[in-house]
């Protein structure tokens, strides 16, 4: 989605002098079971751009168990952070709303950032909602574009609205920090810079376990072995309602097999039960960023588009030359998907066989 949509209604306002002291862009470094969620690195990539526009530093915020946070800080530097705020405490071992909200609000009140970004994950949304309420500031959800309105240094956050049929740009004027969440894979992954360094500012959390009511009794990891992993696939072949019959969807699987691709689908296909829910691409499904996205019999409704337009190369197969998908695809093949899919499977098979023989 366009990141540079102009903010039309300019509001004249004088930033409260107390708020003018708020400086810097922060990214919450989310982790679970010792693994940082990649959305945090994606946000550092985006945060870097915002910090550069504002001429301020980019910071990662790491809340973790004692001894756990240092490596996360080092990674954050490699992905572009200038410094990290590190808060370590036994009560921060597993994610829980109470201690994380306490820790984050204390850091914000002490070091005063002007922008705070979090992943729109189950953890990030849980935390962001509580932190924004405690700080009494604005929080824009599920942004697809972030930029700075340099006239008043405000964060202009773009997000889909009304079931995704339109976009809106939201600003948080006389409040700090300006908070926003972004879904995984909406922003690109920044280049990792090995050996890049930064400062660590440690801050304690004075909170005893006895004062925390909610306890984590257990964590049952998902069985991911057989689950489709669309968000990180390099190639995705997706089918839509244009394929007309569940049997025809086999043509999508055939092409995917030749390409070593994952299979995706539009919502009506999932709702009709042709493929499982984990394969739905779009606003209410997965956001994907493959190198190659082939869409067959998909109209390109905005709710589908927001989930896949981050792909490097989009190929659309549709028998309607005016289908909306041709407005944003890189290659358009106008014709019957039921004939084109097998033809493509064959053409790719031959091409890849030749390439392999040559290589």
């Amino acid at each position: 989605m366009s990141n540079d949509a102009p903010v039309k209604k300019k509001r004249k306002f004088e930033l409260d002098p107390r708020l003018a002291a708020y400086k810097g862009v922060w990214v919450f470094i989310e982790h679970e079971r010792g693994q940082v969620h990649p959305v945090s690195w994606e946000l550092l990539g985006e945060g870097r751009k915002l910090a550069d526009m504002l001429g301020v530093e980019l910071a990662g915020v790491v809340l973790a168990a004692p001894g756990e946070g240092q490596p996360f800080c080092q990674e954050a530097f490699a992905y572009g952070a200038d410094l990290c705020y590190l808060m370590e405490s036994p009560v921060l071992k597993d994610y829980r709303n109470d201690p994380f909200t306490r820790g984050m609000t204390e850091l914000v009140n002490t070091y005063q950032p002007e922008v705070l970004l979090l992943g729109a994950t189950t953890q990030g949304r849980d935390l962001a909602g509580s932190v924004a309420t405690t700080l009494a500031t604005g929080l824009t959800a599920d942004c697809t574009g972030l930029t700075i309105d340099l006239d008043n240094r405000s964060l202009a956050a773009t997000r889909p609205t009304f079931g995704g049929s339109l976009l809106c740009t939201i600003v948080t004027l006389n409040y700090r920090p300006q908070m926003a969440t972004v879904r995984p894979r909406v922003m690109g992954m920044p280049e990792r810079q090995e050996g890049r360094e930064g400062r660590i500012i440690e801050h304690p959390l004075a909170m005893a376990e006895e004062s925390i009511i909610t306890k984590v009794l257990d964590y049952i990891p998902d069985d991911t072995r057989d689950k489709p992993q669309l968000p990180f696939a390099d190639i995705i072949v997706s089918g839509g309602k244009g394929l007309a019959k569940p049997e025809n969807f086999q043509l999508v699987w055939d092409l995917a097999r030749v390409l070593g691709a994952e299979v995706g689908a539009s919502r009506p296909v999932v709702q009709a039960g042709w493929v499982e829910l984990d394969r739905q691409v779009g606003q209410s499904g997965k956001t994907v960023r493959p190198k190659l996205y082939i869409a067959a019999g998909i109209s390109g409704a905005i709710q589908h588009r927001v989930g896949m337009e981050g792909a490097d190369c989009i190929v659309a197969i549709n028998n309607d030359p005016n289908a909306p998908i041709f407005d944003f695809a890189h290659y358009g093949i106008v014709g019957d998907a039921l004939q084109l899919l097998p033809a493509l499977t064959e053409a790719f098979r031959q091409k890849l066989a030749t390439a392999r023989r040559a290589g």
Partner: protein, 270 residues
């Protein structure tokens, strides 16, 4: 046990149309529905009622027409309904919405202590998932989001044990009442409203609370109390460069021409 369920009336987004020329929303005649996610919350509350004879009160902040949504909840089996309505509440973002809902829940709690508050995971219009955390934070209740299952609930010991959807797994959380639970979708299925339920709902009074009934600071409600401001609404832009159209007489010829072209443009794909 007293359970409060927060519901929101939303436009049926499947039926929203955008004006092709002006790019504005054509709201006229768009039917409203109960936010689908809230039905999972309501059903969970009703199941607890079935088991333990708990009392279920539904609340919504909205325009007078939201009365319809509350009556549907009564027909499903909720005991009481409160419509929090006042023109000063309109234009609220999530911060101002959770402020008003928390004030209403405090008013309800003073009349009959509230043990558990249910909300949906998110709405289909604002779609922020921020109101549940906002309410819990304001009331100082325990916050349990994305709950897929309530394993145990005991009013006497005040204990609640839930499964919560986390990234890459499920957290099993033990907590204490009062708590705010945001329910995950697909965890149950809303029951049918039966005839006696519908008759009762039609006759029953829906309470109306305005700013005075819940005692709010006017600077914190509605548009004025909302830090976020919508600066602009716009339609998606077509890409500047139109798609490259693949030509060919037969599907096979088109496929071949396309594959050649693709690998020429993106050699790294091989």
């Amino acid at each position: 046990m007293h359970i409060a369920v927060c519901i929101k009336q939303v436009p049926d987004s499947a039926q929203i149309r955008v004006h092709p020329v002006t790019n504005t929303i054509m709201r006229q005649g768009v039917p409203t529905i109960i936010n689908p996610y809230d039905l999972f919350a309501l059903e969970e509350a009703l199941r607890i009622k079935d088991r333990t004879a708990a009392k279920v009160t539904v609340l919504t902040m909205g325009p007078p027409q939201a009365d319809d949504a509350l009556r549907k909840c009564l027909a499903f089996g909720a005991d009481e309904a409160v419509l929090i309505t006042d023109k000063v509440f309109s234009g609220a973002d999530t911060l101002a919405t959770s402020y008003v809902l928390a004030a209403a829940l405090k008013t309800l709690d003073a009349r009959e202590p509230v043990d558990l508050v249910f909300t949906g995971k998110q709405t289909i219009d604002g779609d922020t998932a921020q109101v549940g955390p906002g309410i819990a934070t304001r009331l100082g209740y325990q916050l349990l989001t994305y709950v897929s299952k309530i394993r145990e609930l005991d009013a006497d010991s005040r204990r609640i044990l839930v499964e919560r959807r986390a990234e890459g797994g499920v957290q099993v959380l033990e907590s204490a009442l009062p708590a705010v639970v945001t329910m995950l979708e697909g965890t149950n299925e809303i029951r049918f409203a039966d005839m006696p339920g519908m008759f009762r709902a039609a006759r029953q009074e829906v309470e109306r609370w305005n700013r005075d009934a819940i005692g709010v600071d006017l600077a914190k409600v509605g548009l004025k109390g909302s830090p976020t401001v919508v600066a602009q609404v716009f339609g998606p832009k077509p890409k500047a460069v139109k798609a490259f159209r693949v030509a060919g007489d037969t599907p096979a010829a088109m496929a071949e021409a396309f594959v050649d072209r693709l690998f020429a443009d993106y050699p790294h794909l091989e």
